[in-house]
């Protein structure tokens, strides 16, 4: 298991090594390199950004902006807080933040699972495109703005203007929602959607802490899908 100390090595060195992991050179001989440990991250930016391999990266401390940005296949665990844009545009794999996350967590994520065990700040899940995001705490204002697809699951509450201008993403919130954004409404979930939520909770490792029936579902009223003069006041 490689240990990378970011007090003495650069983020560039770390990412270059991670990007060098390919199925081709990761036969039996190198299989032990699928588990990496990063120490002294010191809030540095772009740690483990651009992973494209099913490695597991344990980061022992806080990370800066864009940790695990555009992650594909990788599993990244942050034992600390995360800065802006953690797991932005993630394609697949899993990112788990043991602490809190700053704004734009999981922004534009296409796939995979992002779990934030603390709270997430503003714009969590902004423009999400298929990613599943689970926040054990609460999320800040303007979260899921223009969210297109995927599930945002919040065990706590949500700030102002949740789901403003939302497309087809599903927003599950267990606690209070300060206000809904334009074209975002509460919806009655189907049994299939409840099952989907249960699956997301299960994959996030949340068993017993919260039950699917405790969540309310918010989504698009679809009234702003076409420009119409009667909707001008909504923008």
């Amino acid at each position: 298991m490689p240990d990378i100390d970011l007090a003495t090595s650069s983020v560039r060195d770390l990412n270059a090594a991670l990007h060098a992991l390919t199925p081709k050179n990761n036969g039996d001989k190198l299989s032990n390199e699928t588990l990496w440990r990063v120490i002294n991250p010191g809030g540095k930016h772009a740690i483990a950004a651009g992973l494209d391999f099913p490695a597991r990266i344990e980061i022992e401390g806080p990370v800066g902006y864009y940790c695990a940005g555009m992650n594909k296949k990788g599993s990244v665990i942050v034992h600390g807080n995360a800065g802006t844009g953690v797991a932005e545009n993630m394609m697949s794999g899993e990112v788990r933040v043991k602490g809190d996350a700053s704004q734009s967590a999981g922004a534009t994520g296409v796939g995979g699972l992002l779990v934030i065990e603390g709270n997430a700040s503003a714009r969590c899940g902004i423009s999400m495109k298929g990613i599943d995001i689970v926040v054990k705490g609460s999320i800040g204002p303007m979260s899921a703005f223009m969210a297109q697809a995927g599930n945002l699951v919040v065990l706590g509450g949500a700030g102002e203007n949740l789901g403003d201008s939302i497309y087809e993403a599903r927003l599950w919130v267990r606690g209070p929602v300060k206000s809904l954004g334009a074209d975002c409404i509460e919806k009655e979930p189907t049994g299939e959607e409840r099952a989907l939520l249960a699956d997301v909770l299960g994959r996030a490792g949340i068993n017993g802490e919260a039950r699917p029936e405790e969540f309310r579902l918010y989504g698009s009223a679809r009234t702003l899908y076409h420009f119409h003069i009667d909707n001008a006041g909504a923008y």
Partner: protein, 440 residues
């Protein structure tokens, strides 16, 4: 009825026929006009500049014998793999979605034949455009529609779009007629909706954040790719300086004449500044930072002929970018479709309802029958021809000014025909040594 002469009908200069028609249209529909293209108003432009050419004190080059270089390298500041263009004319970002797949292929074919780059747009990269573009610039836009790390890595350069000249401060739109199943899938949107694109990036705010965003993109692509920052011309001095500070390899500066696939007419006509007014402030910022020719400046908005290319370069740009002109070269607004333009309430040369997806030329459409009208091989050839002419014309002027490379053109080669152009371009009014606003 008296035979005495009557006062003839007189139209108001303020309430001219177009303004009256717009008031009537607005009153009838209750919504603003949306259209494609760039500003149509008359603006100070490259037409207001002239080259002086060689004379007693300047030595010209022989037109057909002495070399005049045209190449440009972009991205050597930080990228491990800068791109090398044979000509300083690139194809601006235009999306599959706004354009048909045939049009995107034709752009790639034409640009590749001339050794220059083409650019993706909102909605991501298609395999066809990657396949037909030898040098492809990948746009990272606020919407991030279709964004993914694989396309970042298979691009030759990355362009972070902050704004465009037709609508600085505005997001994109693509109306439902053009959200075909394939476009919808690429953008993760329901089919047929009127798509909105965000005007701000979702995960960074301001130049300090942009610096970190650029760092992330460099990390993801292992510092291989040049990274451009594209801005709509509004505050070019500060935007250029901040882009340099944020770590850009190149700055793309788009004047208000630059086109759009679909935007409110009021936005196109009233926000932003002409490219003529934007180049010198941007160059000044680069020079003050010691970055002129190190961070490349690519300018766009209203480039039509080789004289425009030469003038832009003489003012300090490293390259120009074309969008509208490239579409015209492919076949947009071709008089052969006049009957159909008239059915759409327009005429060849004025057709700008690109957002409706009914383009008779098969370029700004997702209708398979219309799109099939555009032969991408022939259209690509026409674009290559046009790019060739732009280059030859620019070389002709440069040689007349005694320059062995287009980049050797300089402001000293230029004069202005109007006080406004002289002030904006910071070159003397023709026949004088007066530069308005200059202290000497």
């Amino acid at each position: 009825m008296s035979d005495a002469p009557r006062t003839p009908p007189r139209f108001s200069a303020t309430f001219d026929p177009y303004s009256i028609a717009e008031i009537q249209r607005a009153a009838a529909t209750g919504i603003y006009d949306i259209r494609g293209g760039g500003t149509k108003r008359k603006l100070p432009h490259f037409d207001d500049l002239l080259f002086l050419g060689a004379s007693m004190s300047r030595y010209p080059l022989e037109g057909y014998r002495e070399k005049c270089g045209t190449d440009v390298v972009i991205g050597a500041r930080f990228a491990k793999k800068p791109i090398h263009l044979r000509i300083p004319v690139t194809i601006a970002g235009m999306s599959f979605g706004a354009l048909s797949a045939q049009a995107k292929e034709a752009l790639g074919r034409g640009a590749s034949a001339m050794g220059t780059s083409t650019t993706t747009g909102d909605g991501g990269m298609t395999d066809e455009e990657r396949g037909h573009s030898s040098i492809l610039v990948y746009q990272v836009l606020p919407s991030r529609y279709g964004a993914n790390p694989d396309d970042l890595r298979r691009a030759d350069a990355i362009e972070i779009v902050i704004g465009q000249g037709a609508k600085p401060g505005g997001g994109g739109m693509l109306l439902g007629q053009k959200i075909s199943p394939r476009v919808a899938k690429m953008r993760t949107l329901p089919e047929g909706i009127d798509q909105r694109s965000a005007c701000r990036h979702p995960d960074w705010t301001g130049p300090d954040d942009l610096e970190i965003k650029i760092e992330e993109l460099r990390e993801i692509t292992d510092w291989q790719k040049p990274i451009y920052v594209k801005v709509g011309a509004s505050r070019p001095y500060y935007d250029t300086a901040l882009a340099v500070k944020a770590g850009a390899d190149a700055v793309v500066l788009d004047g208000m004449q630059g086109g759009t696939a679909a935007t409110q007419d009021v936005f196109i006509e009233h926000v932003g500044i002409p490219i003529l007014a934007a180049i010198r402030p941007a160059v000044a910022a680069l020079q003050e930072l010691g970055m002129h020719r190190k961070v490349q400046l690519i300018v766009s908005g209203g480039i039509r002929g080789g004289a425009d290319v030469a003038k832009a370069l003489a003012l300090g740009a490293d390259a120009v970018s074309i969008g509208t002109a490239a579409l015209i070269a492919l076949g947009d607004n071709d008089p052969k479709w006049e009957v159909e333009y008239q059915k759409l309430g327009s005429t060849a040369g004025a057709y700008d309802d690109w957002h409706e997806g009914l383009d008779p030329a098969g370029i700004t459409t997702q209708d398979p029958n219309l799109a099939a009208r555009l032969d991408p091989v022939l259209a690509g050839r026409k674009l290559a021809n046009y790019l060739g002419v732009l280059t030859l014309e620019a070389q002709t002027i440069a040689r007349a000014c005694g320059k062995s490379h287009l980049h050797n053109l300089e402001p000293e080669d230029l004069v202005a025909l109007t006080v406004e152009a002289a002030a904006m371009a910071k070159v003397p009014l023709a026949g004088t040594n007066w530069i308005p606003g200059s202290s000497f």
